[in-house]
């Protein structure tokens, strides 16, 4: 039986893991390699490392962090942030990532999705979508949530799938960091529109939120950051509660 995945996300700034609310007010949460192995030991099914500053000047900081994290991590490892060209993706794979996540660059150049997929396989390409409620539905934002695109999130998820994406990482900007629950309406709309797995992100606060996003949102995986870093929710305890609620989980982990 295929289980639902619990993914721990590390937002990285200048080589350190940080966490903010609605992409602002960043707080230090530790060393990426240490955080990643601790989360994996605790039962995380996957690790995502996002370089949230991602300026060209700190590419080497990111690659160093990817290398040291990959060295002792034996669960799937996704890296995102600042990947604009196939060369950027290749460098991140070379440093030990199993998948890359692309966001802004995929919106401006959808062909990049197919280029990376052709060379590294679709399974290695995660298209990250940051979306916020709009008058007509959900609008896609880029550049770390700063720039609106006028594009519809569901439409864009479909197009990204057609271009060769292997998974969609869908973040609700309205819920990010609020711990008020995932946006199940957004997740369900996208999960129902594409044939590839959808990872729900933004708003995780309690075990009940995860149950809801798997049941109501029909997510294939759910991602969280702050509740794991600061020990609000212990991953193995979370998984035990989800199992009790009837959600298939990798267990024991």
């Amino acid at each position: 039986l295929l289980t639902k995945r619990i993914i721990a996300c590390l937002d990285m700034d200048g080589g350190r893991v940080v966490k903010g609310v609605k992409f602002k007010n960043l707080r230090d949460a530790g060393d990426p390699a240490e955080c990643a192995t601790a989360h994996a030991r605790d039962g995380a099914d996957e690790i995502v490392l996002l370089d949230i500053t991602a300026t060209s000047g700190n590419r080497n900081t990111l690659l160093d962090a990817v290398r040291s994290t990959a060295h002792s991590l034996f669960v799937p490892f996704t890296v995102g942030g600042g990947i604009r060209r196939i060369e950027d993706a290749a460098a991140v794979f070379d440093a030990g990532a199993d998948k890359i996540a692309i966001n802004s660059a995929a919106v401006s150049k959808p062909a990049l999705i197919g280029k990376i997929a052709d060379r590294f396989g679709s399974q290695a390409v995660v298209v990250a979508i940051d979306a916020r409620t709009s008058n007509s539905g959900f609008e896609v934002f880029v550049a770390g949530g700063r720039v609106p695109t006028g594009r519809d999130a569901v439409q864009w998820a479909r197009e990204a799938t057609d271009c060769g994406a292997g998974e969609i990482l869908l973040t609700s900007m309205d819920r990010d960091g609020t711990r008020s629950g995932f946006d199940c309406v957004l997740v369900r709309a996208v999960a129902g529109a594409v044939s590839i797995p959808v990872i729900a992100s933004g708003g995780a606060g309690s075990a009940r939120d995860f149950v809801e996003v798997f049941r109501e949102g029909r997510a294939d995986a759910a991602l969280a950051a702050s509740i794991f870093h600061f020990g609000i929710e212990n991953i193995s305890e979370l998984k035990r509660q989800l199992l009790e609620a009837g959600i298939p989980m990798r267990w024991p982990c």
Binding site: L1, P76, G96, F120, G121, Q123, A221, R250
Partner: protein, 196 residues
């Protein structure tokens, strides 16, 4: 020395990292001579079945088949396992090694594809590669095509239908999942391979 065959399909770092972690001597290679000189061979790979064409063009196919018939332990991972079968619907023009009968096919449309994530492994008794692995262990998969269940299947997973998670005959082993990304269970399987 374990040769990890590099034919340009996907990322071999994680396979190498896992064997390094276990203290095994590995060499990542695209040379038929290195394959011939190795004690054991790992054929990894993710992506499209057509990537396996490289094996035919470079003489690696011959070296790999020679190694398997010489009795060297051989482990195909993901696409590397699919190569051990007759072929795949993903690329009908390209023949696999044909060591195991049957062809790899797409999943039914009733399930999302690719099949991504941790699935349980129903382990049959008597497998050398999977010795000590609990019957309902979870392993990480990411693939769109699957190999049929077979007389020599040693572990089955289910996704829309039952398919081959692991297969073996004598010195030849294949796993559809990624042991290098399957936590402690995966490392135990790779350790078993090292200790063969």
């Amino acid at each position: 020395m374990i040769a990890i065959v590099d034919y340009g399909a996907g990322n071999l770092n994680s396979v190498k990292t896992a064997f390094d972690h276990l203290g095994a001597q590995v060499s990542v290679t695209d040379a038929a001579e290195t394959v011939a000189a190795a004690d054991k061979i790992v054929l990894p790979g993710v992506g499209h079945f057509s990537a396996l064409q490289v094996l035919d063009r470079t003489g690696l196919r011959k070296a790999l088949l020679q190694a398997t018939s010489d009795g060297k332990p051989f482990l195909g991972i993901c696409l590397g396992m699919q190569w051990l079968f007759e072929g795949s619907e993903e690329c009908n023009d390209l023949a696999g090694a044909g060591i195991f009968s049957g062809k790899c096919r797409q999943f039914p449309t009733s399930v999302k594809s690719p099949h991504v994530g941790w699935n349980s492994l129903i382990v049959q008794e008597g497998s050398k590669l999977l010795r000590g692995i609990s019957p309902d262990s979870f392993v990480y998969y990411t693939h769109s095509y699957h190999a049929p269940v077979h007389a020599e299947t040693t572990a089955v997973s289910e996704y829309g239908l039952p398919f081959t998670g692991a297969v073996e005959r004598g010195n030849i082993f294949g796993v559809q999942f990624h042991p290098e990304k399957s936590g402690g269970v995966g490392l135990s399987i790779l350790r078993n391979f090292c200790e063969l």
